[in-house]
Amino acid sequence: MQNIILLAYLGAAVLFILGMKRLQSPATARTGNRLAAIGMLIAVAATLLQQRILSPVEMIGGFVVGAAVGMLLARRVAMTSMPELVAVFNGFGGLASALVAGGEIARYLSVEPGGGAVAQVAQSMAALAPLDVPEAITVVLCILIGTITFSGSFVAFGKLGGHLSGNPVSFPGMRVLTVLAALGALGAGGYLIYGAGGSFEAMDMQAIMWGALALGFLSLVLGIFLVIPIGGADMPVVVALLNAYSGLAAAATGFMLDNTALIVSGALVGASGLILTSIMCEAMNRSLLNVLLGGFGGDNDGGGPAVEGARPDLTVQETSVEDVAIQLTYAEQVIVVPGYGMAVAQAQHQVRELSDMLQAQGVTVKYAIHPVAGRMPGHMNVLLAEADVPYDQLYEMDDINSEFGMTDVSLVIGANDVVNPSARTDKASPIYGMPILDVDRSGTVVVLKRSLRPGYSGIDNMLFYHDNTRMLFGDAKDSLAKLVAAVKNL
């Protein structure tokens, strides 16, 4: 029996890996996700088999409530709000791990010193062994990582959804309090471990209970303190990092319960989250430490110390819808550079309409996607996919940068910092060294923008003043609709 369950867990783990492998191509990704879901079903079924149904009402009730809420969230969410949803799910994952650890603690507390309840425990399916020091360490890790993931994710959710200020929040003594909370959590964890022992008689139940409660509370506070000073622009990194944490929390739970399915899945998710975190950091040319220390980048356009048109000594060249329409129609290759501004204006559909018309005229249209376009890794790609842009027209930064030199027109829609040439040339610029899309190398750059305000980082963009740059001011959706009409009339 035990072997069958272990084999089932192995099968689930294999399905998770195969499922993730199929995510290497959009063509096979959907079946990959299903394989992973089947793996999960197998793991759950095996566990039910092992536990037998001890409390069927609670189990079915838990499934029904959880599935209903999950379905509702998954169906309802707008694609622009995907980062918020992922943050919430991350948080729930962390909370589940912490709660499972709490359940373990509660089991020990039900054992009376002297072995009064041990006979009762023996009736239970999973026999309770005394909490020894190694296991106590896993319990501490489980509560610590799980709870930090939970509270940190909900702060990230609040910042992403605009429920909390996206600006870095800080107050005097914040760093000190964070360090104190971290030390306190370590102390509480140490107290819990101190209560562990090789036998029930040797265990200090009071220490275990109070240690666990204090640890949970301090981890909750710590999660809030760790995320709240980080600016809205850095949230993609934070969400990716919390993704890794939720995996590590699951792995810690696996160590605690001696369950290989949890350990393997947790390790996979942890690896995934760490890879995405490092990709995001590289794309912004910042170290993870620099992001975590916070204080960089506000939530909205002009969050920095910026004033409109920060360089009054330079002039920009404005253009008109008609001129752009002619340039686009007679171009051989057009590269569209979408930024989050396009998503905010909900202009994806107009972009796709325009590119369809241009393609019908024989123009090659490509999309250049910067890794930090959007509010989470790959977010822009999902938004464009929703607008029916075929994925083989989307190009990653490294694949398309060499093509700008051969491109007649680059259309920059709601993107700013990711096309700022100062990142290449100006050593004094705060974004110097950040990899950018080299739109300035194309024949003409048309920038669709509301005004000359700088982007997230509050840095003026010299691209706007280049000789080959034309500004098309106005709401992106509006301008694009006019462009579509103008191209149609040519």
């Binding site: 993730m20 879901a37 189990m59 959880g66 998954a74 589940a96 359940g103 190694p134 890794p377 994925y391």
Partner: protein, 101 residues
């Protein structure tokens, strides 16, 4: 404990290998999908909910079961919803000379 650590490290290496090859286009579904996988904690929640000897353990497990199920069901569904939107180039727009518009 030690053999668990071995499993953990090896699984992490497999994860790095497999996931570093996932293209940027699919990073959002990757995150929501792996998120659903991290809901594997549901297994631990089931174990805890089955703890009849302690009502506290049972109800804490019940709460864990709800949030883990939200994570699993919601995660897989929303990933599927995203992935079904990813389509290759339509046939009619493949030829630049076609007049699809």
């Amino acid at each position: 404990m030690l053999s668990n650590l071995v499993i953990f490290i090896l699984a992490a290496f497999i994860g790095f290998e497999v996931i570093s090859k996932v293209p940027q286009t699919l990073h959002t579904p990757l995150m929501s999908g792996t998120n659903a996988i991290s809901g594997i904690t549901i297994v631990g929640a089931l174990v805890a909910t089955g703890m009849i000897e302690s009502p506290w353990a049972k109800w804490i497990g019940f709460a864990a079961l709800i949030v883990a199920t939200i994570n699993v069901v919601g995660g897989f569904l929303v990933t599927d919803r995203m992935l079904q939107m990813f389509k290759p180039k339509r046939r009619d727009s493949k030829e630049p000379s076609s007049n699809a518009a």
